[in-house]
Amino acid sequence: MRLSPDQIIFWQYGFFKLNATIVFTWGLMFVLAVGAKLVTRKLSIGLERARWQNLLEIIVIAIEKQIEEVGLSQPRKYLGFLATLFLFLAMAALCTIIPGYQPPTGSLSTTVALALCVFVAVPLFGIEERGLGNYLKSYAQPTFIMLPFNIISEISRTLALSVRLFGNMMSGAMIIAILLSITPFIFPIVMMALGLLTGMVQAYIFAILATVYIAAATRVRSPGSEPEHNH
């Protein structure tokens, strides 16, 4: 029984291993990048447009709206990072209908890498929006005693983000593998459908949590938008 696609090794030369996680990650990246490039090659701004362009516009606008609803007023700025996370995770979950495919998010290394991206991106966006001093000061709010707890929460939420995604994707793959050995015909299909749903929900949750963290880090108490009681 495999715990993760790390253990499927396609090719090995000394220290370098080419396991299923790397292969499928690059495959997904290739499909997403080339697909996006092909679709955006001939963009039209008229009323007549290709159906793939329509699809991409729907996706981009929907993600933009979600980001805006969480509280980031300039969704375009964060669209690149957050939408990439969501599209990669959703694609990784969606492709499980292809036989022989193992979701790369079922490996702890992938999810930790993605969570580390969020861990790095949150302070970067925060500093960019509020300046270094203001951002660092937010760790010591409301009082100085909260400083260690704020730092611990920063680390623990990264851990939670990665283990949550890993646990969900791994459990989906493992339940299907176990069911295939017990009731091989109909029942695994039902669980696969459930796995698709879980995968999409987890992709959504990962992206929305990253958005919430960024929104919390970049929240500027601007004098225009809020009334006078901001001190």
């Binding site: 969480v70 646990g167 929900v201 949590l209």
Partner: protein, 93 residues
């Protein structure tokens, strides 16, 4: 019972208990959360987008405790470090 048997028994029993008890509390919590969300959805259908989004995020937070328990029991069954250690010791003898 030799060492291997003790480790195997302890791992299997602990894995079952971990998942069994670890999913109980999150299940209760999620049930309460969903029930409350449904009530507020019925009262305020206009706010459904916000309620649904908050519900999903909250459910993910609650669910992650159950997932932790599941991961721990999976590690105990499929990638048990103590078991591997015992096998390595026997092989080294």
């Amino acid at each position: 019972m030799d060492n291997m048997t003790i480790i195997a028994v302890a791992s299997i029993v602990t894995a079952g208990i971990t998942t069994g008890f670890g999913t109980m509390a999150p299940a209760l919590g999620e049930g309460r959360a969903v029930a409350t969300a449904l009530t507020s959805l019925a009262q305020q259908p206009d706010a459904s987008a916000t309620i649904t989004r908050t519900l999903f995020v909250g459910l993910a937070m609650i669910e992650s405790t159950a997932i932790y328990c599941f991961v721990v029991s999976m590690i105990l069954i499929f990638a048990n470090p103590f078991w591997n250690h015992a096998i390595a010791q026997i092989a080294g003898k």
